[in-house]
C-alpha cells in the first residue's frame, strides 16, 4: 500500500510535508479499497487482527466519544478500548480530537463505528500517516522506491520461525497484496480518465473569446488567460505547476455571476483559489469539483452561458462541413470525449464573416445534433466506469497524438463490452447493432416539416398535465413512426427522455401512450441504444408488474424490440426482467377475472403471453438469459404455449425455443417436455415463418440421438421432406435442410427419407442455392451416403458432379461437409470412377493446404476411400506433384483430428510400394514415431495402422525401433478400444520381424498383453497377436540356442 499511496494517490502538494489527499475519483477509489480491506480484515484474518502495531496510527478524528459503543470505556472526552496490548496499553485511545489506534481489529471496529464518516476518517488517517506500513510493522518495512527487499527479508525471517514474526510477515504480505490491488485499480482508473491537452483548451478558449463581450447575445462577458506567455508545449502555467498537469489559468466573467478564476489541467477544469491581489500570485489550490472541459464547466456554472450557447449553435454548425478536414488534422474526433468541443475546434473557420451573420439566428439544429450525442458519450463513459474492475488497459499516455488516442478509445470500448458478454453470448448472437456509429449526415440543412411538428408535441409532453400529454401522445402517433426521420426527430428534440419519464408516472394513459410510441420507434437501432442509455429498460421491466394487461403487453413488446443488442439484454436480466417475462407466459392459462371487465383498454390474456414470448425471444439471444429463462421455469410454460393454436403466439414461442436449444440443458428439457411432438405438428402449419422456426428448433435439437428418433416417431420426417420442394423461401429452406441433415445422422431416418424421395430432391438443391442452404444440403447428403443404396441413388441422379464442383468453394463449413460427402461417395467404385474423371481427387488433395484444420482433416479422410477405390491408385497419387511431401508434412500438425486423418491417408498411400518408398524418403518414419506418445485412441488406431503399413519397406522396421516407436505402441494394448488393439497388434507383428524390436517389446511386457489378445474373438487381432508372440518366442529360442552351442 506504500507504493500505491506515494505514487498513485494524488496528493495536493506532492512530496512536501503533510499534504492532503484531494477527493478526486481516483483517490476515492483508493480509499474505498483500503476501507474494504480494513473492514473485512478482522473477519478474514482474526489472528492477525490482534497484532499490535509497532507504533499506533495517530490522527485527528471527527468522531465524538459518544459514538463509541460497547467494548469501549468512555469517560468525558477520552475513550479507551477494553482490549489492551500485552503491556497494558489500550489498543484504541481517543483524547479530544486525537486518536491512536494500534491494531487492525480496532481499525475495522472504528470504521464500522464511523459509518458514513468512513471515507473521511480513512483520509485523515492516511494524511497523518504517510507511510502507515512503517508504523504498523516497523521501519524495516518502509517503502523504499526502486528496491524491494521484502522477499529476501521474508527468507531471513522464515529461518527464525517465531510466531510473532510469522504474523508480522503475513500482515506484510497482505499489505503488499493490497498495494498491488490499489496500484492495479488506480492504473485502470487513470487509464480511463479523459485528459485535456493544451491544444484542445486553446481552441476552446479562442472560440469562446469570439463569442464573448458586452451584450445579451454573447455567451460570456469575457474570458482571458492570466498569462500572455505561452510555452513551446502550448501550456501557460509556470513549469513547476505544469508538473501537476496544469495547462493554463483563466479568468472568466459570465453574464450572471462574478468572475471566476479557473485552472485548466490535464485532468479537467476546476476553480482555483483566485489571484491574491498584492502578489499577483495565483492560489493554485482546487476549490471545486473537476469538470471534464471548459464548456461543461461553464454550462454548469452559468445558466446564461448555456442558454446563449444554444443560440449560437447554428453558427458553430455552419463552419463544420468546411472544416472537416482541418478538424481531422487537429484532433481526431474519437479522441475528444465530447462533441461540443469537436465543433468548437471548428471555430477557427475562415468563413468567419458568414458565421457572424448567421450567429444571431436561433436554431435547434445544434440541440438536435449535439446534445443526444453528448449524452450518449457520457453514458458511454459511465459504462466505462462500471467496467473498471474488468478492464486491463495500459495506462493512457497523455500524448495528444491522434493515433494513440484512437487506439486507446477503441480498446476502451472493447474492454467495456468485454465484461461479461464475450463469454456469455451464444453463437447465435447477432452482432447487429452493437456500438454502431451514428449514420446521420452532419450539418444537414433542411429539416423535414415533421421535425418541427414533433418538436412542438414534445413541448406539450414536457409542459402539459396528463390531459395535454395524452393529446400530444395520440397526435404523435399520427406521424409515420416507422420512418427514420420521425424516429430520430423524436430523439433529437429530447422526446425520448420525456417518453421514458412518462413511464415513471402514475398515470396509466400516459404510460400506455408513451409505450405505444416507444414500441414503434424502437425498431430503430439508434433509438434502442438511446433508450438503454437513458435507463428506459429498468422502468419497462417494472411496468411488467402492473395489473393492467395492456401495459404489460406494450412494455413486453417494447422490451422485445429494444433487447436486440447485448447491453440491453443484460440490463433486462440484471433488473429481474426475465423472471417477469416468464411470468407473463403463464397468463394464457389463468382465467379472466370478472373484475377486469371494466378495464378500459381490454387485452386478451393470450396477447399478454404472446408479448412475453416475444420479449423472451429477443432476450434469449444471450447465453446468460437462456439460463435465466430456464431457472425462472420458462421451459414448461413455453411447452404449454406450444400447444396453442394461435399462430402469432407460436412464432415467438418456437423462436425462443429454437434460440435456446443451443444449450444442452434446453435440449434435455425439450425432450422431457414433449416439445418435439408439437414442433413437428407445427411444421405442417400454413405459416412459413413458423415452419422455419420449427425446422430450426429441430435442427438444433436433433444433435441429440433420442430427439432424432422422436422426430421420426412423431412423423416429422415427412413434412420436412415435403418442405424441401418449396425453394422460394431461402431462410426456411436453410432451416429445413438443416433439420434434415441432423435427422439423417440416424440410419432409420435415412431410410425414411429415401422413402420420401428426399435424397433426389436434395441432389436437386446442390446448385443455385445460397451457402447456408448448401452447407445443410451437402451435410444431409453426406449422412445419407453412409448407406450404399443412397450412394447409388446420388450417382443415378447426377449428384456427384455438383458435389465435386463444390470442392472449389471457400466456405469452411461447406468444405467440411462437401469433402465428407465426396469421401462417402467414393466408397463406391463406380462413383469413384466419376470422381476421378472429374479430377475430384486432385481437388481434395489441394484442400489439404486449406488453413482450417477441420477442412484439412475432412479432406484427408475423404482421400482414404478415394485411394482405396481408384483404379491405378498408386499412379494417380504419384501424379500429384508435391502431393506426397505435403501429406507427410501434415504429420507435423498440432491437431489430433488432422493427424489421425493423415495417418489413415498414409496407410492407404503406403499400399503402393513405390509411393511407400517416396514417403519413406520424405521422412515418414521419424514423424510417425514422434506421434507415438499419444493418448488419443482414434489417433492411436490410425497411427498403428500407418506404422504397420510403413514397415513393409526397406529397413523401416528397424528405423521405427531406432526412433523409439515400439515401447509406446506396446502401451496401446492397454487401451480399452478394440480397434486400437487390432491395429496395434498388427503393427507389433510387423515390427517383431526385427530382433531388437522384439527385445523392446519383451522388456515392455508385451507378451502378457498379447497373450490376452490371442483369446480375442476378433480373428485378425488373434492372428496378429499370435504372430507377434511367435516372433518373440522364436528369437528367445534362437538366443538360448546360441547360448548353449
Amino acid at each position: 500500500m506504500g507504493v500505491a499511496l506515494t505514487r498513485a494517490a494524488q496528493w495536493t502538494a506532492a512530496g512536501f510535508g503533510t499534504g492532503t489527499l484531494e477527493l478526486t475519483p481516483l483517490n476515492e477509489a483508493i480509499l474505498n479499497d483500503i476501507i474494504k480491506f480494513v473492514e473485512t480484515f478482522s473477519v478474514k484474518y482474526s489472528q492477525e487482527a490482534e497484532f499490535v502495531f509497532k507504533e499506533p496510527l495517530e490522527w485527528k478524528t471527527t468522531l465524538e466519544p459518544s459514538e463509541f459503543e460497547s467494548g469501549y470505556i468512555v469517560s468525558g472526552t477520552t475513550v479507551q478500548s477494553e482490549e489492551n496490548s500485552k503491556d497494558g496499553q489500550p489498543l484504541l485511545l481517543l483524547s479530544g480530537n486525537d486518536i491512536k489506534v494500534s491494531s487492525f481489529g480496532q481499525l475495522s471496529r472504528l470504521l464500522h463505528l464511523a459509518k458514513d464518516k468512513k471515507l473521511k476518517e480513512t483520509q485523515a488517517c492516511l494524511e497523518a500517516n504517510r507511510d502507515p506500513v512503517v508504523k504498523i510493522l516497523g521501519a524495516g518495512y518502509g517503502t523504499v522506491e526502486g528496491e524491494d527487499l521484502s522477499t529476501i527479508r521474508f527468507l531471513d525471517k522464515m529461518k527464525k520461525d517465531d510466531d510473532h514474526e510469522n504474523i508480522k510477515m503475513k500482515i506484510s504480505l497482505l499489505l503488499q497484496q493490497l498495494d498491488m490491488l490499489l496500484l492495479n485499480n488506480s492504473l485502470k482508473h487513470i487509464s480511463l480518465e479523459i485528459r485535456l491537452n493544451p491544444s484542445v483548451v486553446k481552441n476552446d478558449v479562442d472560440l469562446l473569446k469570439h463569442f464573448s463581450g458586452k451584450g445579451e447575445q454573447t455567451v460570456l462577458e469575457s474570458i482571458d488567460y492570466t498569462s500572455d506567455f505561452e510555452f513551446a508545449n502550448g501550456c501557460r502555467a509556470p513549469p513547476w505547476r505544469q508538473m501537476h498537469g496544469e495547462i493554463c489559468y483563466l479568468i472568466v466573467k459570465p453574464h450572471d455571476c462574478d468572475s471566476i478564476c479557473l485552472t485548466c489541467s490535464t485532468a479537467g477544469v476546476f476553480v482555483n483559489g483566485g489571484i491574491e491581489n498584492e502578489a499577483h500570485e495565483i492560489d493554485y489550490e482546487r476549490r471545486s469539483e473537476i469538470y471534464k472541459d471548459l464548456v461543461t464547466f461553464l454550462r454548469e456554472k452559468s445558466a446564461k452561458f448555456s442558454e446563449n450557447m444554444s443560440k449560437q449553435k447554428l453558427s458553430f454548425f455552419g463552419g463544420k462541413k468546411k472544416e472537416k478536414k482541418k478538424l481531422k488534422s487537429i484532433t481526431e474526433k474519437e479522441e475528444i470525449p465530447n462533441l461540443p468541443k469537436a465543433s468548437l475546434v471548428l471555430q477557427k473557420s475562415p468563413s468567419e464573416k458568414r458565421r457572424m451573420v448567421r450567429k444571431l439566428e436561433p436554431s435547434l439544429k445544434w440541440t438536435s445534433s449535439i446534445i443526444p450525442q453528448q449524452k450518449k458519450e457520457s453514458a458511454k463513459e459511465s459504462q466505462d466506469e462500471k467496467s473498471i474492475l474488468s478492464t486491463t488497459d495500459k495506462p493512457k499516455s497523455v500524448s495528444p497524438s491522434t493515433s494513440a488516442g484512437k487506439t486507446q478509445s477503441s480498446s476502451r470500448r472493447k474492454s467495456s463490452i468485454k465484461i461479461e458478454d464475450l463469454i456469455s453470448e451464444s453463437s447465435s448472437e447477432s452482432e447487429e447493432d452493437e456500438e454502431q456509429p451514428d449514420h446521420r449526415q452532419e450539418g444537414q440543412t433542411d429539416l423535414p416539416s415533421e421535425y418541427w411538428q414533433i418538436q412542438k408535441l414534445v413541448k406539450y409532453l414536457k409542459g402539459g398535465n396528463q390531459t395535454a400529454t395524452v393529446i400530444a401522445l395520440c397526435s404523435m402517433r399520427d406521424f409515420n413512426l416507422t420512418q427514420e426521420t420521425c424516429q430520430l426527430a423524436i430523439r433529437d428534440v429530447g422526446g425520448l427522455e420525456v417518453l421514458i419519464n412518462l413511464l415513471d408516472t402514475d398515470d396509466i394513459k400516459c404510460k400506455i401512450g408513451s409505450l405505444k410510441i416507444l414500441k414503434e420507434i424502437s425498431h430503430n437501432s439508434q433509438i434502442r441504444r438511446t433508450i438503454v442509455d437513458l435507463g428506459g429498460l429498468p422502468i419497462m421491466v417494472k411496468i411488467l408488474d402492473s395489473p393492467d394487461k395492456n401495459l404489460k403487453c406494450l412494455a413486453a413488446e417494447t422490451i422485445a424490440n429494444v433487447a436486440n443488442f447485448r447491453r440491453a439484454r443484460r440490463t433486462v436480466r440484471q433488473h429481474g426482467g426475465i423472471k417477469k417475462l416468464v411470468e407473463l407466459l403463464d397468463y394464457a392459462q389463468s382465467k379472466t377475472e370478472p373484475m377486469h371487465r371494466h378495464c378500459l383498454y381490454e387485452t386478451k390474456d393470450v396477447e399478454v403471453a404472446r408479448c412475453g414470448a416475444l420479449a423472451l425471444w429477443s432476450c434469449s439471444k444471450s447465453h446468460a438469459n437462456k439460463e435465466a429463462i430456464r431457472k425462472a421455469g420458462g421451459i414448461p410454460l413455453l411447452a404449454r404455449l406450444l400447444k396453442s393454436s394461435h399462430e402469432n403466439m407460436l412464432i415467438p414461442v418456437v423462436g425462443t425455443l429454437q434460440e435456446c436449444a443451443s444449450e444442452e440443458h434446453y435440449r434435455a428439457a425439450i425432450k422431457a417436455e414433449r416439445i418435439i411432438e408439437n414442433l413437428v405438428k407445427n411444421l405442417s402449419s400454413e405459416n412459413e415463418v413458423l415452419q422455419e422456426h420449427c425446422a430450426m428448433a429441430i435442427y438444433q435439437c436433433a444433435e441429440d440421438e433420442e430427439t432424432r428418433d422422436l422426430v421420426r416417431q412423431h412423423g416429422g420426417l415427412k413434412p420436412l421432406a415435403a418442405l424441401l420442394n418449396n425453394t422460394d423461401n431461402k431462410e426456411r429452406l436453410a432451416a429445413v435442410t438443416g433439420a434434415i441433415w441432423k435427422c439423417a445422422i440416424c440410419k432409420e431416418n435415412v431410410t425414411k427419407f429415401r422413402e420420401y424421395k428426399a435424397i433426389e430432391t436434395l441432389v436437386g438443391l446442390l446448385t443455385d442455392q445460397p451457402e447456408e442452404v448448401l452447407v445443410n444440403v451437402v451435410g444431409a447428403l453426406g449422412e445419407c451416403c453412409q448407406e450404399q443404396e443412397n450412394r447409388v441413388i446420388i450417382r443415378r441422379c447426377g449428384g456427384i458432379q455438383p458435389l465435386v464442383n463444390l470442392l472449389v468453394g471457400t466456405n469452411q463449413a461447406l468444405l467440411v461437409n462437401v469433402t465428407k460427402a465426396v469421401g462417402a461417395c467414393a466408397t463406391e467404385p463406380e462413383n469413384m470412377m466419376i470422381i476421378d474423371r472429374l479430377d475430384g481427387v486432385r481437388l481434395l488433395w489441394s484442400l489439404l493446404k486449406n488453413p482450417h484444420p477441420d477442412v484439412k482433416a475432412s479432406a484427408a479422410w475423404a482421400l482414404c476411400p478415394c485411394i482405396e477405390n481408384a483404379k491405378d491408385a498408386g499412379e494417380m497419387v504419384r501424379s500429384f506433384v508435391g502431393g506426397l511431401e505435403l501429406v507427410v508434412n501434415l504429420l507435423k500438425s498440432e491437431n489430433k483430428e488432422v493427424l489421425a486423418s493423415v495417418c489413415a491417408a498414409i496407410t492407404n498411400i503406403a499400399k503402393d510400394q513405390e509411393n511407400l518408398a517416396v514417403i519413406t524418403d520424405h521422412g515418414v518414419v521419424p514423424l510417425l514415431s514422434k506421434l507415438a506418445n499419444t493418448n488419443n485412441d482414434k489417433l492411436r488406431q490410425h497411427l498403428a495402422e500407418a506404422i504397420s503399413r510403413c514397415c513393409m519397406w526397406g529397413r523401416n522396421r528397424i528405423a521405427f525401433g531406432e526412433h523409439k516407436a515400439v515401447a509406446p505402441l506396446v502401451r496401446y494394448l492397454r487401451s480399452k478400444d478394440t480397434n486400437v488393439h487390432r491395429a496395434t497388434a498388427q503393427a507389433l507383428y510387423q515390427l517383431s520381424e526385427d530382433a531388437n524390436n522384439c527385445i523392446t517389446m519383451h522388456e515392455n511386457g508385451a507378451v502378457k498383453l498379447l497373450l490376452d489378445m490371442v483369446g480375442s474373438p476378433d480373428e485378425v487381432l488373434q492372428e496378429a497377436a499370435a504372430g507377434c508372440i511367435s516372433n518373440i518366442r522364436r528369437l528367445a529360442l534362437a538366443t538360448e540356442k546360441a547360448k548353449y552351442s
Binding site: K456, L457, Y460, K462, G463, G464, N465, Q466, T467, A468, V470, I471, A472, L473, C474, S475, R477, D478, I508, K509, I512, G513, D548, M595, R597, H598, C599, L600, Y601
Partner: protein, 220 residues
C-alpha cells in the same frame, strides 16, 4: 370519509320498493348490488338531510362524493360530471340517476363510456364540442414554465392539435360521430379533455367496500 359510517340503514321495505322500481333501469348491477348502492345513496342523503336537502344529492354533496370516494380533483370537470349524471337537469341526483351513473362509472361498456364522456365534454347543448369549450377544458392543462410565452397561445395550439386528431369532418368542432370514431381508433382519447371517469383502482376499492360491507350486514 369512511363509507362504512355512511351505511346507516333505511327502512328495509322502502329499500325493496325503490330497488324494484329501479330494476327496470338499464344497469350492470344485480338486485343485491343495487340494494347496496341505494342504501349508500340514502346514507349520503341522510347526511345531506341535516342541511335540509330532500330531493336527492345536490351539486356540492355530489362533488364531495366524487372527490372523496373517486379521487377526482378538477372542480370544473366535477361540475361537468354532475351535469352528465343529472339527466333531468333538476340540479339534483336522484336514486335512478345515481345508480345509472355508477353503472357507467363502475361497469360501463366501452360504448357507454364514450357516450358518457361526450356528455361530460359538451355543455351548451348544440350537439357539438366547440373550440371554445375545448379551450375552456384545456386551459389549465399547461404548466406555466416560461414567462415570455403567451399561455393562451399554447392552449390554442393544443386545441388545434386535438381538433386535427379528432375532427374527421373538418368543421372545426367535434360532433358525437367525430368523437366516437376517434376514440374507437385510439382508446386513449376517451378522456381527451380531462379525466371524468374514476381510476380503476378507485372503482375496485369502491366495489369491494360497498358490496362486501353490505353483504356482510345482510348475512348478520
Amino acid at each position: 370519509m369512511s363509507l362504512k359510517r355512511l351505511m346507516c340503514g333505511i327502512d328495509l321495505r322502502d329499500l325493496k320498493k325503490v330497488v324494484t322500481a329501479l330494476s327496470k333501469a338499464a344497469t350492470h348491477f344485480n338486485q343485491n348490488e343495487m340494494e347496496c348502492l341505494v342504501k349508500l345513496f340514502y346514507s349520503f342523503m341522510e347526511k345531506g338531510c341535516e342541511q335540509g336537502i330532500q330531493e336527492g344529492l345536490d351539486r356540492s354533496e355530489f362533488r364531495n362524493i366524487l372527490h372523496s370516494v373517486f379521487g377526482m380533483t378538477d372542480d370544473m370537470l366535477m361540475n361537468r360530471v354532475f351535469g352528465a349524471f343529472d339527466k333531468d337537469n333538476d340540479n339534483h341526483i336522484s336514486t335512478r340517476e345515481w345508480v345509472e351513473g355508477l353503472s357507467i362509472f363502475l361497469r360501463g361498456t366501452f360504448e357507454e363510456k364514450v357516450k358518457y364522456c361526450y356528455q361530460v365534454y359538451y355543455l351548451n347543448g348544440d350537439g357539438y364540442i366547440s373550440q371554445d369549450e375545448m379551450f375552456d377544458m384545456l386551459k389549465n392543462s399547461l404548466l406555466k414554465h416560461s414567462v415570455e410565452e403567451d399561455p393562451d397561445e399554447g392552449i390554442k395550439e393544443l386545441v388545434e392539435i386535438a381538433l386535427k386528431k379528432m375532427d374527421y369532418d373538418n368543421d372545426g368542432k367535434l360532433s358525437y360521430e367525430d368523437f366516437e370514431r376517434a376514440v374507437k381508433k385510439d382508446h386513449l382519447l376517451l378522456e381527451v379533455f380531462g379525466p371524468c371517469l374514476p381510476e380503476i383502482e378507485k372503482c375496485l376499492e369502491f366495489e369491494t367496500l360497498v358490496f362486501r360491507d353490505i353483504n356482510n350486514e345482510f348475512q348478520l
